[in-house]
Amino acid sequence: MIDLVGKRNWFFLISAIVIIPGIISLAVFGLKPGVDFSSGTAMTLHFDKEVEQSQLRQELTDLGYDNVVVQPAGEGDFFLRLPEISAEETTKLKEGLETGLDTTITISSLYSVSPIVARGTVRNTIIAIVVAAVAILLYITWAFRKMPNPFRWGTCAVIALIHDLVVVIAIFSILGWVAGVEVDALFVTGVLAVVGVSVNNIVVVFDRIRENMKRGVSHDFEVIVNYGITESLGRSLNTGLATIFVILALYLLGGTTTHTLVLALLIGIATGIYSSLCIAGQLLVVWEKGLTSRRKAAPSPARSL
């Protein structure tokens, strides 16, 4: 049997290697807020004839829009991101570009948010994540109420959950300054879905550990936990793979509108599999035994395999 619990410090180290640079990136660069959070106007323009990015930028400057992010959006379309402009200004901008570039423009999508709307979103998002985490902590404590120290199970699940969230957010922070990936309301949706899905995996593992405790598989808690984890290994990997298949299909084929949502889910679910197998149960053992304890020569449990 694979000893996943015995190697716990290695797993903690691996997580630290991912999380620490991520946190540094978060602290230095933060996340790149989309218009939902920072207010502004974002639009995708479709041009009837091919237009160079430099031409477009020049034309925007001529119209008095200096502070515009211009990104190609595929198939000759361009994505513009500028400070909030009114409906009249939008129409003028479009007409100005049409005259300047001598082409017809279709605004295939437009999203404009005022500071008044953007202001509360960050706070509400944080409240939502905290509420979800606390609710899950309480639920798991309740679900494992028959175990000794049920609160520990809840806490360890939530720590593993926070681990997953930090990885997702950290990777988006890095993607923000490397690839210009912005976070929007759909990113938050993805993060909260990760909250649900990642704890889902942890609960399955904990459920197995609980069952093995009831069966009295071993006297050594570490051995019990390891059994629980290795027994869930097949299930966790298979479910994870199945979920990743569909999400990957969605990411590659599903169009750009939901990219941030799907990417957050993809990272979160992959991390969730790892943390459910390599972090959550191991944390229970650490809490029980401390970080450094060596395993006693555990008596081989009577089990027919």
Partner: protein, 444 residues
């Protein structure tokens, strides 16, 4: 146990048949014959206006003002001719807002003008000096003052749009074919208008909309009930007629959020997501059958039931399907596999322990139930919080995802526990797939 299987199977088959019938186009109950697509899939405009309550008449309550704004906007939007518009009010600590969705709207600029304008119409007299020539302000412009007259109760009243009957119409003038808006005063308005036209004979009378002059025709005769407003383009005339009939807003609105999605982008997204869903599901089915053999096959049958059930529920509730909503559904397919994987793994394990097939199936389901339940509750918690969050944002995309993921998770529990188990029992009962190898367990 066995006796209960046949009625269950019949129930499942009837339910399945019904759901398949429901999801075909043009079928459905309660008049729900089509899937409801969100704005991001059918194209259209999503607008949020902030309601400026500081400008309200102190005599009115906030709730009345907000309700009035909502009703008037509903009237405007309905008269504009959009199919299935949505008008909702949102009140939160940031203020009061009215949210409007206009699916399939073509000319958004015109719609914005129609909805956002206060549309306060009034009639004004030119300010003149003793000699009868107009008084000019610093910029050399003529000055106007709202025309007042004595009402039926001897009170002095301003002549504004609120005395109009809600039957203003766009007409084309006979000779020049220019558009004009024909209006009619109610009895009070007629009393005021008669006095005002009388004293302004052969003088201009300014017609103002939201403090902007539209036209200033010269009064030719004393008029009581009727009049026309000229000097507008056809579009403007149409907009004004709708606004006059809906009534002016009591307070000004400011556009604070706007999301436009082109119809072609919507269609494109829908096609792409469906393709992703089909390919993703196909991969899952292949994987399940390759890895779990017979039980994987049964799980996939259950998955089919799950998908059909889900789609039928989407149509019947009805759930407004958005792109993130479809993503939520596709994720729930992945999660729906989860319960089946749990059961299949258990089954393999019990078979390895040397149980008979029948006993292994019962044990497999019994043992996996606690994990399925506890694990899915956490997903429900996340969905409920997301739904709340989506509501505070007024973000239909977030709500769409939370809704479909919630429904998908609930239905996947149902299919895992009821459908997969019944299928397994029936197949085992018929003596199909007796060898443990069919479940992915190697014989010793």
């Amino acid at each position: 146990m066995k006796r209960a299987n046949t009625p269950l199977l019949i129930f499942i088959l009837v339910l399945f048949g019904f759901c398949v019938w429901v999801i075909f186009p043009g079928h459905g109950i309660f008049g729900r014959d089509d899937f409801k697509l969100g704005l991001d899939l059918r194209g259209g405009s999503h607008l949020v206006y902030s309601i400026d309550l500081t400008k309200k008449d102190p005599a009115q309550t906030d709730a009345d003002v907000i309700e009035g704004v909502k009703q008037k906007i509903e009237r405007r939007v309905n008269a504009y001719g959009v199919t299935e518009p949505i008008v909702q009010t949102i009140r939160n600590e940031r203020g009061s807002f009215v949210l409007i969705q206009l699916p399939g709207v073509k000319d958004i600029d015109e719609a914005l003008k129609l909805i956002g304008q206060t549309a306060e119409l009034d009639f004004r007299e030119l300010v003149v000096d003793e000699n009868g020539s107009p008084v000019l302000d610093e910029e050399g412009k003529e000055q106007w003052v709202i025309a007042k007259a004595t009402g039926s109760d001897d009170e002095e009243r301003e002549l504004t749009g609120k005395y109009l009957k809600p039957n203003a119409q766009v007409m084309l003038t006979q000779q020049t074919n220019e558009p004009e808006v024909a209006f009619e005063w109610n009895s009070e308005g007629a009393i005021l208008f008669e006095q005002i036209t009388q004293r302004n004979l052969q003088k201009p009378l300014g017609i103002f909309l939201d403090n902007q002059i539209i036209s200033a025709p010269t009064v030719q005769a004393v008029i009581k009930e009727k009049g026309v407003i000229t000097g507008l383009s056809l579009e403007e005339a149409r907009t004004l007629a709708i606004q006059l009939n809906s009534g002016s807003l009591d307070v000004p609105l400011t556009l604070v959020e706007r999301r436009d999605i082109g119809a072609t982008l919507g269609e494109d997204s829908l096609r792409k997501s469906l393709m992703a869903g089909i390919i993703g599901s196909a991969m899952v089915i292949l994987f399940m059958i390759a890895y779990y053999r017979f039980s994987g096959f049964v799980a996939c049958l259950a998955l089919l039931v799950f998908v059909v059930l889900n789609l039928a529920v989407f149509k019947l509730i009805p759930v407004v399907l958005t792109l993130p909503g479809i993503a939520g559904f596709i994720v729930s397919i992945g999660m729906g596999v989860d319960g089946n994987v749990l059961v299949c793994e258990r089954l393999k394990e019990e078979l390895r322990r040397g149980r008979t097939l029948g006993a292994a199936i019962e044990e497999g389901f019994r043992q996996s139930w606690s994990a399925i339940l506890d694990a899915n509750v956490t997903v429900f918690i996340a969905c409920i919080v997301l739904y709340w969050l989506g509501n505070t944002f007024g973000n239909f995309l977030v709500i769409g995802f939370a809704t479909t993921l919630f429904i998908g998770t609930a239905l996947s529990m149902f299919t895992q526990v009821v459908v997969t188990r019944t299928f397994m029992r029936i197949f085992v009962g018929f003596g199909v797939a007796k060898s443990p190898g069919a479940y992915g367990v190697l014989k010793k």
